[in-house]
Amino acid sequence: VSFINYSSREIILKIVYCGPGLCGKTTNIKFIHTATNPDARGKLVSLETRQERTLYFDFLPLSLPAIRGFKTRLHLYTVPGQVFYRASRKLILKGVDGIVFVADSQTARQEANLVAMDDLEENLGEYNLEITKIPFVIQYNKRDLNDILPVETLREDLNRWGVPDFEAIAASSEGSGVFETLKAVAKMILVELRRAR
């Protein structure tokens, strides 16, 4: 549900980061915030608890160069990962243009990944949306940790649709994989918007 404002000549696109609790959604957003030129980013709003759990959402607005005189802005949101925040997850997905699913690569978290993916599908279903019909990418995060699953296993279990997927270490100083993931989903949204015309 892109938003086009002719008065301020802006196109606003909403990207939501989903995934199980503590998989690194907020870490992705925080890395993007620190690594982006201050002129191209807005204020990072993070509603976290003391245990680094996102209570409601994180929000980061980013600016892209203009398209035919229209400034393009990306509004990045994360949803709370914990199972019991299902209601707020659903609310944040309202009006979404593209989704990033951040999976935790640790073996012990694979079940949580699967539960979160099912939950995402259900939440989208409630808005009459399907994963295959909206720009969607998967990120396998925490690739630097011990006791992680091979990417092939993660892919087989989580990427049933063959969408673009990326390995990442969002917590590293280079934030490897973070911008690749964001660029991929942003590109898919623009291609989809063009196609939808």
Partner: protein, 193 residues
């Protein structure tokens, strides 16, 4: 039975009927599509005019109109030092959470919320199903006055929202991206980060 006509997708004339108990009728007829809200200068000007009038009449500091997805549509008054983008997203989040709470309590909605601070106070009013009016005021005004004036303005605002939705319906997608190539998109994203 109470039945509400609800717009599901902004860009197409797709309506479903929402029965009070949240049954969605005719939902199977709805197809998934990418939809968008388009705000033209004319409606933005009208929104801004109503915001400015309300600002004066309610002796408020700032008036903001946004949609429930957190996109700001218009504002008036003192916005210096206020991050309006962040504010719009937080207000939309707050209204969404309060709506969820209302439903848990068997209410359709809590249509207004007032927040009181040491210096500044905030009144949030839900306008129809899709929009929110925010009035920030200080000691020069009062909740009663702000609520009274906001109620009056909401009628005008709802008329303008109707125009925005009708125009968004008629706009079969804005032709901004049709001529850009894959390479353009690649460059755009590549240059951005």
């Amino acid at each position: 039975v109470s039945v509400y006509k609800v717009r599901l997708f902004a860009s197409k004339s797709v309506w479903v009927y929402l029965v009070r108990d949240s049954y969605l009728l005719s939902l199977n007829k709805v197809t998934v599509m990418l939809s968008q809200t388009v705000l033209y200068e004319e409606e933005q000007f009208r929104l801004k005019h109503v915001c400015s009038s309300l600002l004066k009449e309610a002796l408020a500091k700032t008036v903001i109109v946004l949609d429930r997805e957190g996109q700001m549509l218009a504002n008036s008054g003192d916005t210096e030092g206020v991050d309006l983008t962040a504010m719009a997203s937080l207000v939309a989040g707050m209204v969404a959470a309060t709506s969820g709470l209302a439903q848990l309590m068997g209410e359709d909605e809590f249509p207004a919320q007032a927040h009181e601070g040491k210096e500044s106070n905030l009144l949030l009013s839900c306008l129809g199903l899709n929009y929110i009016l925010v009035v920030i005021y200080d000691k020069q005004s009062s909740l009663g006055l702000v609520r009274l004036r906001a109620r009056k303005s909401s009628i005008e605002l709802l008329n303008i929202f109707k125009c925005i939705e009708e125009r968004s319906d008629k706009t079969d997608g804005v032709d901004l991206l049709s001529e850009i190539s894959d390479a353009d998109i690649e460059n755009l994203i590549g240059d951005a980060f």
